[in-house]
C-alpha cells in the first residue's frame, strides 16, 4: 500500500511520503477508484484535510484501505457505507441523498437515468422498507439493519489494491 501511495506522489515528495498529502485528483487516478461512481464521496469521507480539498494523507489512505479490506467487519463497512451515501453529511439519508444515490448508480447517460415518476416510486419503496421509525429519513441504525441482512454487501464493498 505504501508503494502505491508513493506512486501517487510527485517525484520530489517521494522521500517523505508519510507526511505529504495527495490531492484528490491524484487519488482519483487509482484504477480501483476510477470507475467508482462514489469516488468523490469516498475521498471526502476519508480525508482529514482541513481546508476541504479532499486530499489524503498516508494515514487516511491506509484508513480507506482498511475499511475496504477483507478483514474489516461488516459493522465498519456499513458505517462507512452510510457515510459515503450521506451526501450532505447530515447524519441521515433523506430523500435528496437517496436521489443522488440513485443517480450515481444509474450513471451519467441521459437514457439510463430514471424518470421522475420512477425515481419517486423507487424512493418511496425504499423508505417504506427501511425507514423503521417513519420519520422520512434513514439513519445509521436503520441503514445498518438493512445492510447487515444483505447477503452480498460485505463481498462487494471492498477494494483491493
Amino acid at each position: 500500500a505504501y508503494k502505491r501511495f508513493r506512486e501517487l506522489l510527485p517525484k520530489e515528495e517521494r522521500e517523505n511520503a508519510c507526511s505529504a498529502r495527495v490531492p484528490k485528483s491524484r487519488i482519483l487516478t487509482l484504477p480501483e477508484l476510477r470507475a467508482n461512481p462514489f469516488q468523490h464521496r469516498i475521498c471526502r469521507v476519508f480525508s482529514t484535510s482541513d481546508n476541504g480539498d479532499d486530499s489524503m494523507s498516508f494515514e487516511d489512505f491506509l484508513d480507506m484501505l482498511s475499511v475496504f479490506s477483507d478483514s474489516a467487519t461488516s459493522d465498519i463497512k456499513s458505517h462507512y457505507a452510510f457515510r459515503i451515501f450521506d451526501f450532505d453529511d447530515d447524519g441521515t439519508l433523506d430523500r435528496k441523498d437517496l436521489e443522488k444515490l440513485v443517480n450515481c448508480l444509474t450513471g451519467q447517460g441521459k437514457e439510463s437515468q430514471l424518470s421522475n415518476e420512477e425515481m419517486e416510486q423507487l424512493i418511496r419503496n425504499i423508505l417504506e422498507e427501511s425507514d423503521i421509525d417513519k420519520d422520512g429519513t434513514i439513519n445509521l441504525s436503520e441503514f445498518q439493519h438493512v445492510v447487515s441482512r444483505s447477503p452480498d454487501f460485505t463481498s462487494s464493498f471492498k477494494i483491493i489494491l
Binding site: 517523505n16 508519510c18 507526511s19 484504477p31 480501483e32 476510477r34 470507475a35 467508482n36 461512481p37 462514489f38 482529514t48 482541513d50 494523507s57 494515514e59 487516511d60 484508513d63 482498511s66 475496504f68 474489516a72 467487519t73 459493522d75 458505517h79 462507512y80 457515510r83 451515501f85 447530515d90 447524519g91 441521515t92 437517496l98 448508480l105 444509474t106 450513471g107 439510463s112 430514471l114 420512477e118 416510486q121 423507487l122 419503496n125 425504499i126 422498507e129 427501511s130 423503521i132 421509525d133 417513519k134 420519520d135 445509521l140 441504525s141 436503520e142 445498518q144 439493519h145 438493512v146 445492510v147 441482512r149 444483505s150 447477503p151 452480498d152 454487501f153 463481498s155 462487494s156 483491493i160
Partner: protein, 1020 residues
C-alpha cells in the same frame, strides 16, 4: 443531578404504558429491528427508533397527547441513553457498569470511571457525526465541541439502582446478545409486559476537565451539583448542550478556584501540552496527598491514563493541522515517549503504580492485593481494547494513538504486576508472546502470498466484477482438490508400483501384446492412450495381484482399493464441508423484505475498476431498478397468459426432444463403436475411432446454444431463465454421461463373455504348451515364453479407464478449441474487420463474446464427475485433470482478459456458490454410483489388475484382515459387521437425521414467523 420527578415520571410512564401490554411489543420490536444495544447504542437521540415508538405509544394512550411527556422523553434522549430492565434482578449498578471497559453510554460519551459515588463519563470526540438532537436550533459547531474528546462529566449515582440486570462477570462486555436476552422477539419472549421499567439517568455535573485535571472529591462535586442545578434552572427546563457546556466551562473555572489550585493559573498560561504534563504531575501529587480509599486512587490512576491519551490526541491533532507528517510527528513523540518511559522506569523502581513525573512526589505506596487485581483488570481491558480496536469506526490517527496508548499502558503495568523473580519471567513471557504474535502475523502474510493466482483473479475481479471471479475461485478450489487426489493416487499407487513392482515386460499384463507391438509407439498413443500407455502404471491392468511388493512389503492391492475408496470419501467430505461453511456464511440471506434497499445500497460492486464494466454495471442496475418498479406496479398483471403457457410448454417439449435425441445419439454411437471394435479398429479411420468422444463433446458444445434459443421462446424473467438453462444443460450432460455409462456397461458384459472364451482357450493353450515339454513339473514355468506372446483376456477395467481418459482429453481439447475459435478468433475478427465492414461489428451482430459463467462451471463440474468415476480404473486421471485445470486456468484467464467483454446478465456470486456446490455434490453422488456398482458386483478380470484372481474386488479387505491382523481382530470385525449390529446402527442414524431435520425445519418456521411479525408490526 437527578431529576427526581423526571425519573419517577418516566418510571410511571413506563409502568402506565406497560400496563396496556403494548410497549413491550414495541420495545421488543424496536430492539429487534434496530439490532442495537439500547444502552450503548450508537443512537442519534431523536432518531432512535425507540423514540418514535414511545411517541406512538404516547399518542395511542392519549396521555396528554404527549405534549409534556414528549418533552421529557426528548430531554431524556438529550442527556443520556435509555435503560430498560427486567424486574427482579437486583444488583448494584457498580457491578453492572464496569469502569474502563466502558460500556459506551451513548455514541458521544464513554464511561470513564466509576466509584461508589460518582460516574464519570468522557466525550469521545465524534466530530463527523454530530447528533441531530438540537431541536433548539443549535449550531453544528457548538454541538460538536460539546463532546470533544477529553471533556469529562460526572454523575452521582443515588438514583434508583435496584433495578438492574445481572452483574457483569470478569472482563465481560455487555453485548448485543445480552440485551437480546432481555428483549427477545415478541413471540419468544417469556417476560411479561409489566415487568419493564424505565430508568432515566440524568446527566449530573458537567465538569470540564482539561488534560490532567482530576476528579475532585465528593464535596467539590456536590457543590458543583448545586451549581449545576442552579445553572440549568436558570437556563430553562431543557438544558441544551451548549448551555451545559457553557456552564461546564464556568464551573470548571469556578471549581479550579475553589480548589485554590496555584498551578491552575500557570497551566492556563502555559503551552497546552506542557500544561497537561504538569497537570498530570499535579494529579499524582494530589493522589499522594489524597486520603481517600483505594477506589479513589484507582480512579485517579485512570484519570491520569486518560489524560495522557488526551495528550497524545492533541498532539496528533496538532501534527495534522500544521501539515506535519508522520515522521515528524513521530519525532515529536519520541521525546515524549522517552519521558514516559523514564517515568515508567521510575515507577517500577519505586513500585508505584501511578505515572508521575513530578519531583515533589516521593511518597511510598504499597501495592495492595486489591490494587493489583484492579491493575490486572485494567491491563486486561487495555489488551482487549487493542484486540478490538480494528473494529471501531475511528480515524486511523485516533486508532493509532489509542493503540499506542493502550500498548504503552500494558507494557508499563504488566511489568509492575509481576514481583521479584516472577517479574523477570513475566517480562520474558510477554516478550515471547510478542515475538510469537509477530511471527504469526508474518506467517499469515506469507500464507496469503502463497495462494496461487491470487493476483490474476484480483485483476479479473476488477475488470469483470465478482461473479466472473467466482468462477476462477471455483476453478482454483477444484485445482486444490485435484492436487490432493493426485497426491493420493500418485504417492500411494503409482510411485510404489513403478519403483517396487515387477518391471515392464516381466509379466504378460505388463507387456504389450505381439499383435500391437508394431503400433505401440505410434503418435496416436498420446491421443487415445493405447499401446505403451495402456500397459503402464497409468491404467488398472498393469498392476499385479501380488499381495506385497518390494522390500517395504507394500500391500499394493489393498492400497489400490483404499485409495479408490478414500478418493471418493475425501471428495464427499470436502464438498459437504464447504457447503456447510457457505451456508453458514449466507445465513438468512433469502430475506426479501428489503428488496429495494438492497438494490440501492449494495448493488454497486466496489471491485469494479474498469470503465467499461462500470458502464455495464450502471446499465444493469438501472434495468434492475426499472424492473423492480414495474414489478411492484403491476405485480399480478399477466397478459395473454395462454400464449405464454403454450410457448413454455412448447419450449419444454423441444428441450426434452433435444435431450432425448442427444441421449439416443450417444447410445447409438457407442454401440457402433463396439461394432467397430469387434471388427478391429485398424480398418477404420480416425473419426470412427474417436467418434464417441467427439460426439459427446460436440453435443456439449452446441446443445446449450440450442437451449438458449429455446429459452428465448419462454419469456421468463432472466434469473428464472438462467435457472432453467442451467437445469437443462445439467440434464443434458447428465443424460449424456449416463448413456455413456450404460453403453459401457454393455461393453463390459460383452468383455466378460469374451473373457470366458479366452479363459477356455488359454487353458487349452497352456495344456498344449505343457504337454509338449515336461508334463509333470507344473510348479515352475519351465518354458520361457515371451510374455508378449501369451494370450490374454480383454481386461475390461483398463478399457473403462481408457474410455474415461480419452473422454477427458477430448473434452479438454474441445474446450480449448472453443475458446480459441469462439472467443479469440471472433474477437480478432471483430476487432480488425470492424474498419471495413458494412455495420458496426463491435455492437452489432457478432460483437465480442461474453464469459459464460454457468456453462463453464457446469463443464468443470462434469469434468470432475468423470474424474471421480474413472479414477479407480485409471490412476492417471487425477494427474491429467490437474494438468488440465492448470492450463485452463492460464488459458481462460488470458482469454477472459483479452477477448471477452463483461457480461450483462448478472449472476450473483455469493448466492450461486452453494448452487455450484450442490450440483457438484449431486454429480459426485451420481458418479460414485457406477463406480461402486462395478466394484461391488462385477468380478474383476482374471489376468490383469491388482485384484485378479478374486471373485470380487472388496475381498482385499477380508484377505488383509485374515493375514495381517491378529485373529481376535478378525473375529471382532466379523461380529461388528453382522447384520444384527449394522441394522440398528443404520436405524439410529436415520432416526437422528430425521430428528435433526425436524428441528431445523421448526427453527426455520420460527424464523419465518418472526419475520412476519416484524413486518406486521412495522406496518402499524
Amino acid at each position: 443531578m437527578i431529576q427526581d420527578d423526571g425519573c419517577e415520571s418516566h418510571i410511571m410512564l413506563a409502568a402506565d404504558l406497560s400496563s396496556s401490554g403494548q410497549p413491550l411489543q414495541l420495545f421488543g420490536i424496536c430492539d429487534a429491528l434496530s439490532h442495537v444495544d439500547l444502552r450503548s447504542g450508537e443512537r442519534d437521540s431523536c432518531h432512535h427508533p425507540l423514540f418514535g415508538a414511545l411517541q406512538q405509544v404516547l399518542a395511542a394512550q392519549g396521555k396528554g397527547a404527549g405534549s409534556t411527556k414528549n418533552k421529557e422523553i426528548l430531554g431524556f434522549y438529550e442527556h443520556f441513553s435509555v435503560y430498560f430492565f427486567t424486574e427482579g434482578i437486583r444488583a448494584h449498578w457498580k457491578d453492572w457498569v464496569k469502569p474502563g471497559a466502558a460500556p459506551v453510554l451513548c455514541r458521544h460519551l464513554q464511561l470513564d470511571q466509576l466509584s461508589s459515588e460518582t460516574l464519570v463519563i468522557q466525550g469521545r470526540g465524534h466530530k463527523v457525526f454530530p447528533a441531530p438532537w438540537d431541536h433548539g436550533g443549535l449550531q453544528e459547531e457548538a454541538r460538536m465541541d460539546c463532546w470533544e474528546t477529553g471533556k469529562v462529566c460526572q454523575l452521582p449515582v443515588d438514583w434508583d439502582v435496584s433495578r438492574l440486570p445481572r452483574p457483569l462477570k470478569n472482563n465481560e462486555e455487555r453485548s448485543r446478545d445480552d440485551i437480546g436476552q432481555f428483549f427477545q422477539y415478541p413471540g419468544m419472549n417469556p417476560i411479561k409486559p409489566h415487568r419493564f421499567m424505565c430508568i432515566q439517568v440524568e446527566q449530573q455535573v458537567l465538569k470540564q476537565v482539561q488534560g490532567g485535571s482530576d476528579v475532585d472529591n465528593e464535596e467539590g462535586s456536590a457543590a458543583e451539583n448545586e451549581e449545576n442545578v442552579g445553572g440549568i434552572d436558570k437556563g430553562g427546563k431543557r438544558a441544551t448542550p451548549r448551555t451545559r457546556r457553557g456552564h461546564a466551562r464556568g464551573r470548571a473555572r469556578h471549581g479550579g478556584e475553589e480548589d485554590e489550585d496555584d498551578e491552575d493559573g500557570t497551566r492556563r498560561a502555559g503551552h497546552r501540552r506542557h500544561r497537561n504534563r504538569r497537570g498530570r504531575g499535579r494529579a499524582a501529587g494530589n493522589e499522594g496527598s489524597d486520603s481517600d480509599g483505594d477506589p479513589a486512587k484507582a480512579r485517579k490512576n485512570q484519570a491520569n491514563q486518560k489524560s495522557k491519551e488526551d495528550d497524545e490526541d492533541e498532539e496528533d491533532e496538532k501534527g495534522g493541522k500544521s501539515g506535519k507528517g508522520k515522521n515528524e510527528k513521530k519525532q515529536d513523540k519520541k521525546p515524549d515517549k522517552k519521558g514516559k518511559k523514564e517515568k515508567a522506569n521510575k515507577k517500577k523502581k519505586d513500585k508505584k503504580k501511578s505515572g508521575s513525573g513530578s519531583d515533589s512526589d516521593s511518597e511510598e505506596e504499597q501495592i495492595t492485593e486489591e490494587e493489583l487485581a484492579k491493575l490486572k483488570e485494567e491491563v486486561e481491558e487495555k489488551k482487549k481494547l487493542i484486540a478490538t480496536l480494528r473494529n471501531k469506526p475511528w480515524k486511523m490517527k485516533k486508532k493509532l494513538s489509542v493503540l499506542k496508548e493502550a500498548q504503552l499502558f500494558v507494557e508499563k503495568f504488566e511489568g509492575a504486576l509481576g514481583k521479584g523473580k516472577g517479574k523477570k519471567f513475566y517480562a520474558y513471557k510477554v516478550m515471547m508472546t510478542k515475538k510469537w504474535m509477530k511471527f504469526q502475523r508474518d506467517f499469515e502474510n506469507f500464507k496469503t502470498a502463497c495462494i496461487p493466482w491470487e493476483m490474476k483473479i484480483k485483476e479479473i475481479e476488477s475488470h469483470f466484477g465478482s461473479s466472473v471471479a467466482s468462477y476462477f475461485i471455483f476453478l482454483r478450489w477444484m485445482y486444490g482438490i485435484n492436487m490432493i487426489l493426485f497426491g493420493l493416487t500418485f504417492g500411494l499407487v503409482m510411485v510404489p508400483e513403478a519403483l517396487m513392482g515387477k518391471p515392464y515386460g516381466s509379466l504378460p499384463r505388463k507387456t504389450v501384446p505381439r499383435a500391437e507391438e508394431a503400433s505401440a509407439m505410434n503418435f496416436a498413443t498420446l491421443w487415445d492412450f493405447s499401446g505403451f500407455a495402456q500397459y503402464s502404471v497409468l491404467f488398472y491392468g498393469y498392476y499385479n495381484n501380488q499381495r506385497t511388493i518390494g522390500w517395504l512389503k507394500f500391500r499394493m492391492p489393498l492400497s489400490y482399493f483404499l485409495v479408490g475408496v478414500g478418493t471418493i470419501g475425501y471428495s464427499f467430505m470436502i464438498v459437504i464441508r464447504t457447503m456447510a461453511r457457505n451456508a453458514n456464511e449466507e445465513g438468512g440471506g433469502d430475506d426479501t423484505s428489503f428488496n429495494f434497499s438492497w438494490k440501492m445500497f449494495t448493488s454497486w460492486d466496489y471491485l469494479i475498476g474498469n470503465p467499461e464494466t462500470a458502464d455495464n454495471k450502471f446499465a444493469s442496475i438501472t434495468t434492475s431498478f426499472k424492473e423492480a418498479i414495474v414489478e411492484e406496479q403491476e405485480s399480478r398483471k399477466e397478459e395473454n397468459i395462454h400464449l405464454t403457457r403454450f410457448l413454455r410448454v412448447l419450449a419444454n417439449f423441444l428441450a426434452l426432444c433435444t435431450l432425448a435425441g442427444s441421449g439416443y445419439l450417444i447410445f447409438f454411437v457407442v454401440r457402433r463403436s463396439q461394432k467397430f471394435a469387434l471388427e478391429g479398429l485398424e480398418n477404420y479411420g480416425w473419426w470412427e475411432r474417436n467418434e464417441v468422444n467427439m460426439v459427446m463433446s460436440l453435443l456439449g458444445m452446441f446443445c446449450p446454444t440450442l437451449f438458449d434459443v429455446i429459452s428465448s421462446l419462454e419469456n421468463y424473467h432472466p434469473r428464472i431463465a438462467l435457472r432453467w438453462q442451467l437445469g437443462r444443460i445439467f440434464a443434458l450432460f447428465l443424460g449424456n454421461l449416463y448413456t455413456f455409462i450404460i453403453a459401457l456397461m454393455d461393453e463390459i458384459n460383452l468383455k466378460l463373455e469374451e473373457e470366458k472364451v479366452v479363459k477356455y482357450n488359454m487353458s487349452i493353450w497352456e495344456a498344449s504348451l505343457y504337454n509338449g515339454t515336461i508334463p509333470e513339473n507344473s510348479t515352475a514355468p519351465p518354458i520361457q515364453v515371451d510374455p508378449a506372446d501369451v494370450p490374454r483376456g480383454p481386461c475390461w477395467e483398463t478399457m473403462v479407464g481408457q474410455e474415461f481418459v480419452r473422454l477427458t482429453v477430448s473434452d479438454t481439447m474441445t474446450t480449448y478449441i472453443t475458446i480459441l475459435i469462439g472467443d479469440f478468433l471472433r474477437a480478432v475478427f471483430v476487432r480488425f474487420f470492424n474498419y471495413c465492414w458494412c455495420w458496426d461489428l463491435e455492437y452489432g451482430f457478432p460483437s465480442y463474446s461474453e464469459f459464460d459463467i454457468s456453462g463453464n462451471v457446469l463443464g468443470l463440474i462434469f469434468n470432475q464427475g468423470m474424474i471421480w468415476m474413472g479414477s479407480f480404473y485409471a490412476p492417471c486421471l487425477p494427474a491429467i485433470n490437474v494438468f488440465r485445470l492448470h492450463t485452463s486456468m492460464y488459458l481462460q484467464c488470458w482469454a477472459v482478459m483479452c477477448c471477452n467483454v463483461p457480461q450483462e446478465r448478472v449472476f450473483k456470486a455469493s448466492r450461486s456458490n452453494n448452487f455450484y456446490m450442490a450440483m457438484l455434490l449431486f454429480i459426485l453422488f451420481l458418479s460414485t454410483l457406477p463406480a461402486v456398482y462395478t466394484i461391488v458386483s462385477i468380478p474383476p478380470s482374471f489376468d490383469c489388475g491388482p485384484f485378479s484372481g478374486k471373485t470380487r474386488m472388496f475381498e482385499v479387505i477380508s484377505e488383509t484382515l485374515e493375514h495381517d491382523f491378529p485373529s481376535w481382530f478378525g473375529k471382532v470385525f466379523g461380529y461388528a459387521s453382522n447384520p444384527g449390529l449394522i441394522l440398528p446402527f443404520i436405524l439410529l442414524m436415520v432416526l437422528s437425521i430425521y430428528y435433526l431435520n425436524a428441528t431445523s425445519k421448526s427453527y426455520k418456521e420460527a424464523n419465518l414467523e418472526l419475520k412476519k411479525k416484524l413486518q406486521t408490526s412495522r406496518r402499524k
